[in-house]
Symmetry: C2
Subunit: 339 residues, 2 copies
């Protein structure tokens, strides 16, 4: 079995973006905001939207199932206020829930949260509870920078985030630490902001003591852990200088990296440096890098090709990266699959 732990509904029918455009145009004049019920998408439209894209590539690559969350770059928590984010999160979560319900063998729902810059994360609890209890979410995306590249939120180890961690622990649901669009012209969204956020989040966890308070909390850092595995010696040395435990102690217990690294040498390094039990197969699909590498004739983001060939995984380790770890990290997915 092969489970992709990081996929987004980047291919939703255009009515979704049109609704969002109307919502954003009405910011500041709430009476003109569109009603969520005005967004009407048929089951066929939703099924087609993934069939032509994600499912096609999943079949090509032999992926059985994908943890499927709303489009990360569209979360755009920095736009509008909490109530705008709340309506938007609700709509986006309902859509990925419907896809996961229509194609339950292929998709499991990941939820977005209605975060808003400067707003207490506790406000996200009702949507988190709805997503898990009513929609069947098996994972949640948590944005460490709802300001969209201004980085005004406190580190993930700050107590203001704790209500979310308490709920995640209660439900035994992991969070993927995933930013959204950068509104800061310094940061290209997928070429800088995403990777920076991954590196930043990991270092926050090295500095803090979050898992003493939440020993069973599981956080997934996407995009191969940002710069972390490549600079693993730096992180070990910094942890040592700070009097913190070896950062390896975080891995495979509380912190996981996905395999969204889009060339063979990168995957070779990732699998050499990071223990297999801390790796989750993923393609970030259909995502940041959609093209075909003219040198190989294959999609850059077809990470299975690199993982199948890396010398640093034994067969059981490879199976763990492809599915076993994902089932362990997402117990609600395992339960649904009867594992």
């Amino acid at each position: 079995m092969i489970i992709d732990s990081h996929g987004h509904f980047t291919t939703a029918p255009p009515q979704l973006a049109a609704w969002r455009d109307r919502q954003l145009a009405a910011l500041g004049s709430p009476t003109e905001a569109p009603d969520p019920d005005e967004l009407v998408l048929s089951d066929d439209e939703l099924t087609e939207a993934v069939r032509q894209h994600q499912l096609c590539l999943m079949d090509e690559r032999g992926t059985d199932l994908m943890v499927f969350s709303p489009r990360a770059s569209f979360m755009a928590h920095h736009l509008g206020d909490f109530s705008a984010s709340a309506a938007w999160a609700r709509i986006c979560n309902d859509l990925v829930h419907r896809v996961a319900t229509l194609l339950p063998d292929r998709f499991a729902m990941g939820a977005m949260l209605p975060q808003s810059p400067g707003v207490d994360p506790v406000t996200c609890l009702p949507e988190l509870r709805r997503a898990v209890e009513q929609l069947g979410a098996v994972a949640v995306n948590l944005n460490p920078d709802p300001s969209g590249g201004r980085w005004t939120a406190p580190p993930l180890t700050d107590r203001s985030w704790y209500p979310l961690y308490e709920a995640l622990v209660e439900y035994d649901v992991p969070a993927m630490i995933h930013v959204s669009t950068s509104c800061n012209p310094a940061f290209h969204t997928t070429g800088a902001h995403y990777l920076n956020a991954d590196t930043t989040a990991f270092m926050q966890l090295v500095q803090g003591d979050l898992f003493a308070d939440f020993p069973t909390l599981r956080l997934i850092i996407p995009h191969g852990g940002g710069a972390v595995p490549y600079h693993w010696g730096r992180f070990r040395g910094l942890a040592q200088a700070l009097g913190r435990p070896d950062p390896a102690e975080l891995l495979g217990r509380n912190v996981y990296f996905d395999t969204c690294v889009y060339h063979r040498p990168g995957i070779d390094l990732l699998t050499e440096v990071v223990p297999a039990e801390a790796l989750l197969f993923a393609n970030e699909m259909i995502g940041a890098v959609r093209g075909i590498d003219p040198r190989t004739g294959h999609h850059y983001d077809d990470t299975r090709r690199y993982l199948d060939r890396t010398p640093h995984l034994t067969a059981p380790q490879r199976a763990a990266v492809y599915a076993g770890n994902a089932l362990r990290v997402h117990p609600r997915l395992a339960a649904r699959l009867g594992r």
Copy 2:
């Protein structure tokens, strides 16, 4: 010959920090600001400050010469206004100039600039000219985020930076793109902000067309290029999607990475992915990671140990990484050495 292209005066006598503390305490009441002349350091004090630290390690590691600039984390361009930065840059540059004059066989000066958030970079020109013309700087450190982690400056491709590039081209002097201390609690300075800045700067260069305007400008991205080499497939794929040239075209012509990557697998990846002609040997010494790896008994930042062993460099390539490239990138250093 072995040249370290990235070293900082992190070991200056404590009087320097004391002067800075007084300067910062007097911000807002300029009449109380200390006079630069109140900082008195003897030649012996300066020589001792490097002899016990940098020189010791350089001798141990076989490094002949180091490009030596003011302590990066102390630049702290976000503190005070332009006039505070101007006085501070002048003092710090004078000190590294004196070290390079006292020990001309071992140190070549790199300069800091008196940047200040929101202030036009053109204001840095007088100090840049003084550093090169009067102090003999062979390189300059350029901070892409003078706000210290708020990232309020425009991308490096913005025309507001052009006066600096014009001067760098005129002098044939490279710039190392190097941030300073993060005042943003989200970013650990050396564990997140430094690496994020490297990644961010490279992606800005991929997006823009800076080197069409400055074909001979040379920028050094430190810390092994941040996340870039590890995610090289991502950057190639993004460049392709953006209709930009293969990012490899930047390397070895306009953009260089140093080798400050502190474990063997990282250096193996760097030397496999990045052409040797784009790599500059460096230890970022005495810098971010000063400790000894208990697993190996060697300093994490002793990158020569990894470079000597990587299978991805031929002997001539290794020589280029150790010295030839540095002489090519720093023509004023080559001239001083009579090469």
